[in-house]
């Protein structure tokens, strides 16, 4: 039970949504709602939950189509819908690792990337594919809202870097990315339906270079050019240097840092073999 009165708004356009955010102090955008409702139930929301703006009725946030040399996925799409679309095998593999089928029917793509949980595994394939992200941010003062499409890697550093009230509408993925050989591995403490101790995703791109990203090992997802270069050029020999680059790993009630490091080594080696 959420023991609070909450304003619920369901705009039809992105502009209405952003305008609503400007009008309602403390409002949050809502798609699947799993994180907002569970946090509110525990009384653990980052700030008082006063208003939610449901973006599921906004057509451009539920888009699922090819436009030019990329395909576009709406931020409000639920994970099951994306999996059923079969557009991007690596993305599907990653999404299938998240929660269970029933919960994936609720979880949204944008929510997984922009949520407070530190895993954000859905971002891994998008970072590897060098996708872009389309957002709408409130304008300054009386100015109209600002629409911008940016390279995801430029606005994702540990988390999605958004301005206050900035609404994520969709992601655009280059059409050739799904063609690349890929690898996905995921390890949990016990049950497969759990947060990852380590998730790795990797591709061999059109230039035969390795692109590598991981989640779970740190309190944030991670991809870096330095790691990609080391793995592309030295293969498994780069492991000590890569682990050095990755720095201290998480140590929590699910697993020790030691075990995560061991898993990570095993998983990177396996990914490289798979892509060799």
């Amino acid at each position: 039970m959420i023991a609070a009165d909450i304003v619920y708004l369901r705009p039809e356009t992105a502009e209405e949504a952003v305008a609503a955010w400007t009008r309602h102090d403390g409002a949050r955008y809502l798609a699947g709602g799993t994180e907002i409702t569970t946090a509110a139930r525990r009384g653990a929301a980052a700030h008082d939950l006063r208003a939610v703006i449901d973006i599921k009725r906004i057509p451009e946030a539920s888009i699922h189509e090819i436009c030019g040399d990329c395909f576009r996925l709406g931020a409000a799409l639920n994970l099951s819908d994306i999996i059923d679309g079969e557009a991007f095998p690596l993305l599907n593999a990653v999404l299938r690792g998240i929660a269970d089928h029933t919960v994936r029917n609720r979880l949204s793509l944008g929510g997984n990337l922009a949520g407070l949980l530190p895993y954000r595994e859905a971002v891994l394939p998008l970072l590897l594919a060098d996708a872009s992200v389309l957002t709408l941010a409130p304008g300054k003062g009386e100015a109209p809202p600002v629409r911008s499409e940016r390279r995801l890697r430029d606005v994702f550093d540990k988390r999605l870097l958004l301005a206050p009230g900035e609404l994520v509408l969709s992601f655009c993925i280059p059409l050739d990315a799904p063609e690349w050989p890929w690898s996905h591995r995921r390890k949990t403490r016990t049950s497969a339906v759990d947060y990852p101790l380590v998730t790795t995703a990797a591709v061999r791109d059109a230039d035969h270079r390795i692109r590598f990203a991981l989640a779970g090992a740190h309190p944030f997802p991670f991809r870096s050019d330095a790691v990609d270069a080391a793995l592309s050029e030295q293969g498994p020999d780069a492991l000590p240097a890569v682990l050095e680059t990755l720095g201290p790993l998480r140590d929590d009630s699910r697993a020790s840092a030691d075990y995560r490091a061991h898993l990570l080594r095993t998983m990177i080696r396996a990914a490289l073999e798979e892509l060799a």
Binding site: M1, T38, K187, R189, V193, S253
Partner: protein, 778 residues
């Protein structure tokens, strides 16, 4: 007139339509108009002094009627066997999640909304994280007032320490046995406390009437025990208390002991005429209400070179958490059965229930036996390794048989099940003797098998009772009323089959009342200890016999014969020698009416009763006595697959064979055993609380506490052996819990074999297996 027996058939359970359509009414579906709602504030600390609680802001919140703290009921202590628990913490909190204050409001939202407005100042105290820490010299004594606590005579606390109970077993001469042994092994084994994770969180609705009567609706396994507990805790006589129990969504022992009834009753007494509802959130169900105990065990075994067991020295330290509840009797039950199902002539055992600063513990499926079995089975494996014997052969050599003496010195009687047959069947199912126990597969994974034996006897009062009343409707059908709660186990369906069998009638002419009400239902100890079909079954058969006598008495007059010449079958009462002279039951069960309107007889009401015969308490110094009623014996085995690279584990096959005397409903029986085995796999591989250094629980929600899921199941193979239990209805004995008991033992054996290192701790998560496999070989 011969008819096929109902026993051994698997009719669809009577509650299936309601359960699969979501229309079964559980306790929380009974909310009445005018109900007030309570919400609990739980301690974030495992051990702390409460310095102050500021309630004014919460009390002033919209919709709030009142806020209460421990100071509101300064004299009240609650406990089934040992009265050690205040309804809300007083002075100190003793575990993470302990209720410290409660808000009562017009609706649940208002009550929960007010919780953050309560301000509690705590001074944290050093927290005890294990029984051994709690027994160490200088450890803080968590219950300094223990001396004054009310208790039953069978529980032996040691005031001035953290020992809530010590049960001793002294059988034979262990010193001599160990001195003369060819092999002695010793091991320490442990696991943390955890939760039952029943699907339905606990809920209670209490109302105190202007007539001074207390009415309770609760998701309880033991309404009569609740009435008794409330009477003692609140000083109200039983005649002023009614407890009603709807079917519950899983109990597993967690709904047998202290729950929220006393607190809800106290709240209701502050608002006469208003029902007060106290419903646990999942998190409160895991931390504020009791879970299952943890264990630290030390087992030494002495044997001859050929594997014959000579002696055992056993120490069980049960982690009871902040309060004792049923855990005191769990520790006692574990002592009574401490050796597992093996004939050991010399036994020295101390089984202790120890207070720590963990969430408090109560009964859990297996009641002491899953815990003791894990420890003794691990020790048996150490012995098999030492003697280089096949672990199944070592067990086979020492299996307990009729005439052998149990740890309490009483002999296994004529009803002893055929454990050798159970073990042989599991060996066959696992291809134990025809395929290697450990194989490295082409992909590098390792497959390994493990095997264990188990026993379980109900740990019950010597005067455990069951009542049954059988009455009839106009259509001649029979209704059975008992005190047995439907907790998912299907006992009502089993009872229905027993009645139909005894009345020689169709199943659809018998029903069992679903709700239990202490004002309407005959007395019954509790729905626990795998005893319902046995004891309530005995009472039900007694009620059938009584009803048949009355039917024959009435029918004999119009049929112009002696009652003893009549028989009842197929919905008729008829002359045994001349079945064409009969009356349909509907013309008899409410009295017989002559054509002219004269009538005789009156409603038939069958009365049945049962009480455990010949049980005794055990001697406090030696444990000698006969506290057990019947033993269910069995064997279990598994094959697991382990990836040595990261410790990942999968259970491929799990087999169980147990001697249940008589299988009444094969599908339900299999369901109980498979459910128990699955729970045992979770117990051994994934479950258990994770604590930080201050003993707060890190995984107190289902986000983090992982139980088995559908899809993670192995291939289950369940077989039954039927050696009749002479005093059981139609020869049956209990089977509800037993399938869990041997699982941790055989899983630990399989994992140990796979990695070549003896596992000593649960749960065996992949990380633990990986870490263990990197230790130096023994």
């Amino acid at each position: 007139m011969t008819r096929p027996s109902h026993l051994g058939t698997s009719p669809v359970r009577t509650d299936a339509p309601a359960k699969v359509t979501g229309t079964l009414r559980y306790t929380d579906d009974l909310v009445r108009p005018g109900t007030l709602h309570a919400a609990i504030l739980a301690s974030p600390h495992a051990h702390a002094q409460i310095q102050s609680i500021h309630t004014a802001a919460a009390a002033a919140a919209p919709g709030v009627r009142a806020v209460f703290t421990g100071a509101d009921w300064p004299g009240i202590l609650i406990g089934l066997y040992l009265g050690d628990k205040p309804p809300l913490a007083r002075g100190n909190v003793r575990h993470h999640g302990e209720p410290v204050a409660v808000v009562v409001a017009d609706d649940e939202a208002a009550a929960r909304h007010a919780l953050p407005l309560l301000h509690v100042a705590y001074a944290p105290l050093p927290a005890l994280g294990s029984p051994r820490e709690a027994l160490a010299p200088g450890a803080p004594v968590l219950h300094p007032g223990m001396n004054a606590y009310a208790r039953i005579p069978d529980i032996l606390p040691e005031p001035g320490t953290n020992i809530a109970n010590r049960t001793r077993i002294r059988k034979g001469d262990t010193e001599q046995a160990f001195a003369g042994a060819d092999a002695v092994v010793e091991g320490e084994f442990s696991f943390p406390p955890g939760d039952h994770v029943a699907l339905e969180p606990r809920v209670v609705i209490a109302e105190y009437g202007p007539d001074g009567r207390l009415e309770i609706d609760s998701s309880t396994q033991s309404p009569f025990e609740v009435r008794n507990l409330l009477a003692r805790a609140l000083g109200l006589p039983e005649r002023r208390i009614t407890v009603r129990a709807a079917p519950i969504g899983g109990g597993f022992g967690g709904k047998a002991g202290i729950m929220n009834e006393p607190l809800a009753a106290l709240l209701a007494m502050r608002f006469p005429g208003r029902p007060v509802r106290l419903a646990n959130t999942r998190e409160a169900d895991m931390l504020s209400s009791p879970g299952r105990p943890g264990l630290q065990a030390r087992v030494r075994l002495a044997a001859r070179a050929d594997g014959t067991l000579l002696g055992a020295e056993i120490e069980f330290l049960f982690d009871s958490g902040g309060y004792a509840d049923y855990a005191v009797n769990v520790s006692r039950a574990a002592a009574i059965s401490c050796t597992g199902p093996y004939n050991i002539p010399n036994v020295h055992a101390d089984s202790l229930c120890v207070y720590t600063n963990h969430p408090f513990a109560t009964a859990f499926r297996g009641f002491g036996h899953i815990e003791l079995s894990y420890a003794t089975e691990r020790a048996m494996d150490l012995l098999a390794d030492r003697l280089r014997m096949d672990p199944a052969d070592l067990r086979a050599k020492n299996l307990i048989r009729q005439g052998d003496l149990t740890p309490t010195g009483a002999p296994m009687d004529d009803n002893t099940g055929d454990l050798p047959a159970c073990l042989a069947k599991v060996r066959e199912r696992l291809r134990w003797d025809s395929a290697p126990h450990r194989r490295v597969m082409p992909d590098g994974t390792i497959r390994a098998k493990g095997i264990s034996c188990f026993w379980k006897a109900p740990a019950i009062p010597t005067f455990t009772d069951a009542g049954a009343v059988l009455f009839f409707a106009e259509d001649g059908s029979a209704t059975l009323s008992t005190g047995v709660i439907e907790i998912g186990q299907g006992a009502h369906d089993g009872l229905r089959m027993l009645i139909a069998e005894a009345l020689k009638t169709d199943l659809d002419r018998v029903r069992v009342t679903r709700r239990v009400d202490t004002d309407l239902s005959p007395h019954d100890w509790a729905t626990a200890a795998s005893r319902s079909l046995f004891m309530a079954g005995r009472a039900a058969l007694d009620a059938v016999a009584d009803a048949l006598d009355q039917i024959k008495q009435t029918a004999a007059v119009p049929l112009a014969c002696a009652p003893e010449n009549l028989d009842v079958a197929g919905g008729r009462v008829f002359l045994r020698d001349e079945p064409s002279r009969f009356l349909p039951l509907e013309k008899v069960v409410l009295g017989y009416v002559y054509p002219n309107g004269n009538s005789i007889g009156g409603p038939v009401i069958g009365r049945g009763r049962y009480i455990t015969p010949d049980l005794s308490s055990i001697d406090p110094e030696t444990g000698a006595g006969k506290p057990w009623l019947e033993w269910t014996l069995g064997a279990e085995g598994v094959e697991v697959e382990i990836n040595p690279a990261d410790g990942a584990i999968r259970v491929l096959t799990a087999a169980c064979t147990m001697d249940v005397g008589k299988v009444v409903h094969p599908a339900l029986a299999r369901g109980q055993v498979v459910g128990a085995m699955g729970m045992g796999i979770g117990y051994a591989l994934t479950e258990g609380f994770v604590f930080d250094a201050r003993q707060t629980v890190r995984n107190g929600s289902l986000r983090d506490y992982k139980i088995q899921r559908y899809g993670e199941d192995p291939d289950y193979i369940v077989d039954f052996v039927e050696t009749p239990q002479a005093d059981g209805p139609f020869g049956l004995r209990g089977l509800g819990e037993q399938g869990i008991v041997g699982m941790p033992g055989c899983l630990a054996q399989a994992v140990s074999l796979a990695i070549g290192r003896p596992v000593t701790e649960l749960p065996m998560t992949p990380e633990c297996i990986w870490r263990k496999s990197r230790e130096a070989a023994p």
